[in-house]
Amino acid sequence: MRIDEIMTRNVRSIAPDDTLGTAAQIMWENDCGAVPVVEADGRLVGIVTDRDICMAAQLQGAPLHDSRVSSAMARDVKTCAPGDTPVTVQAIMQQNKIRRVPVVDDQRRLVGIVTLGDFAYLVSRNPEGADGMTWTAVAHTLAAVSQPRIARFAGGYGDRSSGRQNFPPNT
């Protein structure tokens, strides 16, 4: 099985120079929590989540329409290819503690997105296992992505061991 058989296509994306207000509007309209950020040529350059917007609003203290997407997006985005197997992508999620992985072609143009929820749905409908994907593997990944990302008691705007390493951005 290939990831492009289960990924979501026609993903709404946004440009780095758009405002966070536009990003939040897209999240509202599509009931999603993350929007991939692409340049005019379709190349993926980042991803912005509802949490990123919340934190940018807090740190920047400005209305969302006064802040650019590029000021809040994560730039170090883990991606996969359309021909990757679900097992491979599931491992990417587990290692990086992320629940969404954009799918890009060999020019790094966005073609889709796949989430941990997609995998849960996949294995729930295929009790015998879905092409090497097992229930326990997905459950382990869920446990991994749910781990706190900062050391306990680190306090303050400290380092994050994984995930959003570049937040707060541009500082």
Binding site: L20, G21, D31, Q58, L64, W135, H140, V145, S146
Partner: protein, 247 residues
């Protein structure tokens, strides 16, 4: 049920309760199987280290004491869970929930709520009144959408303007499986745990359940299947939002 947990008011009382727990555990070890003994061997050094640091550093080590105490108490509870009939889905919420929960008040600004979420690396805060009765929850997404609809800096608007209008809670005595049903039906990942008076005693998330099941997956495939059903259900696109879109 608060009495099941080490009291948090001073390191001295934590220490006393821990010592008592440890002695009780040692007695029960004689009756326990190999698996439980191995688990105890991983916890005991931490407990000893905790006692030592509490004695040496006093209140300074209190934060760490709370976390470790919870770990020890959980290990202790595993004894009873394993000796009972029924799989992990029958385990009560108080075995899995987190008891160190950060909260905010309805009158706090969204700026303050977001700051707590950032500092504590969490995405959801129970909103409690002066006596810790849970009134609502607020998530990072709620704050994001409030910032969009209200169009003002977060410091100029309050938690009460953005918090959930409906509240779903569970009891510490509820079974794990029942809480997962609640999560699936309401498409929520986190549920506040309240006592009979509505007072906050903990928080349980789908991730907490996943981590709880992790060492038990081989023995409890049905519970894993249910976990994934829950995750899939939560991740389903919702019906169109009933509120009109902003702007």
């Amino acid at each position: 049920m608060n009495s099941r947990f080490p009291k948090r008011n001073s390191s001295g009382s934590v220490l006393a309760e821990l010592s008592q727990l440890r002695d009780e555990l040692r007695v029960r070890l004689h009756l326990a199987g190999l698996e439980v003994r191995a688990q105890w061997e991983s916890v005991e050094p931490k407990l000893l280290g905790l006692e030592r640091s509490l004695e040496q550093q006093g209140e300074g080590a209190f934060e760490a004491a709370g976390e470790l105490a919870v770990e020890v108490v959980k290990a202790f509870r595993d004894f009873s869970v394993r000796s009972q009939e029924g799989g992990p889905s029958k385990a009560p919420v108080h075995d899995i929930m987190r008891v160190r929960v950060h909260t905010c008040a309805p009158s706090d600004t969204l700026h303050r709520a977001a700051q707590i979420m950032w500092e504590k690396d969490c995405g959801c805060l129970p909103v409690v009144d002066a006596v810790r009765v849970v009134r609502a929850v607020i998530t990072d997404r709620d704050i994001c959408m409030a910032a969009l609809t209200q169009g003002v800096p977060l410091a100029e608007t309050s938690v009460s303007s953005a918090m959930s209008r409906s509240l779903t809670v569970c009891s510490p005595d509820d079974a794990l499986g029942a809480v997962e049903d609640v999560m699936r039906q309401n498409q929520i990942r986190r549920v506040p745990v309240v006592d009979a008076d509505g007072v906050l005693v903990g928080m349980i998330s789908l991730g907490d359940i996943a981590r709880y099941l992790q060492p038990r997956m081989q023995q409890a495939p049905a519970s894993v299947a249910q976990l994934l059903e829950t995750l899939a259900g939560i991740s389903e696109p919702r019906a169109r939002p009933s509120m009109p879109p902003p702007l």
